[in-house]
Symmetry: C2
Subunit: 195 residues, 2 copies
């Protein structure tokens, strides 16, 4: 659907309003009527922007939250050009997850979407991972170019390993409410990069 | 509840039968009646062993599946006394997750339990993690004692890092259907152990 700039703004207002409600109350506890009320949207407007109903809106909010995962790490993630910046990005990651604790908004959404539309949920996560990994690989290449790390380091594999440490740490944080796993695994992944 | 050996056998039959049904059809698609039929159990028997009903049975099956996560890695996990055995254990982990793909039975259950009884679900995962981590730490200590790795290596921290690599790899496997993350992260965690 091609939207006018005003249409795009309305759609965005609905998506961010829904995202805020989901974060606040939990996905299962929010109805389309709640979202209409919170975003001052009529039934016909909601249907106009999301003809597929609730599951289409959930997908749009999941895309928005996936963007947010990367945006929360910016501008650090896009500028990992020296070791000091990597350390600052590491601190940012720890802070994000420490504040978020069990409440990862994206995984709450994909858990719901996995039942309705697993392929679409998977696509959103894969696309986000690819972009995340590309940023990290660019950062590894920068360290390699400036001679801060072993030039034989494989940027893509290293990026994938760092991402796996974060995802594992975040999953164990949700399961156990302990930050230890994330902190240890991320430290170890970065230390072994530098060795 | 203290059970006679016959009572314990009946309870076990119900739990393993329910676990098999959950694995086959998905947790949401299995009713208590399905479980009674598959395990040849009467309503009063089921109520006798699980007075708390479905959620109590789900908890018992989650405990069983948590045991299974560790049992699937045995006898290797309990005998990580030299580097060759660590490699064999690594191969076993890769094989388990490659066969399982998106279908992790424990996380399917804890996802359901997180709504009904989050504290109980968390306890099961924490207890399993502790035992898993203890096995790995014992293995790290063995390598350290035999001089195969740097004696300054912290066994508990190393064990936590290896577990985080596996959990991250398994989570990304579920999200993307790619084994790459698990293979890379586990290889990297073990390589850095040996360095």
């Amino acid at each position: 659907m091609v939207l006018t700039s005003r249409g795009a703004a309305t759609r965005r207002r609905i998506v961010t309003g829904a995202a805020a409600l989901f974060r606040e109350r939990g996905v299962a506890q929010v109805s389309l009527d709640d979202i209409r009320a919170a975003t001052a949207t009529s039934k016909s407007q909601l249907f106009h922007y999301f003809p597929g109903g609730r599951s289409e809106l959930l997908l749009a909010v999941a895309e928005h939250e996936a963007e947010q995962v990367l945006a929360d790490q910016q501008p650090l993630l896009g500028d990992l050009t020296d070791w000091r910046k990597w350390q600052a990005w590491r601190e940012r990651i720890i802070k994000i997850y420490d504040e978020q604790r069990a409440g990862c908004p994206l995984s709450a959404l994909t858990a719901h979407l996995s039942q309705a539309d697993p392929a679409a949920a998977q696509k959103i996560v894969i696309r986000m991972n690819e972009r995340w990994q590309a940023h990290l690989a660019t950062g590894v290449r920068a360290l390699s170019d400036s001679g801060e790390i072993d030039p034989a380091t494989d940027p893509d594999q290293t990026a994938a390993t760092i991402m796996t440490a974060i995802v594992g740490g975040a999953t164990l944080l949700q399961a156990t409410d302990s930050m230890t796993y994330l902190e240890l695994a991320l430290t170890q992944a970065l230390n072994s990069l530098r060795r």
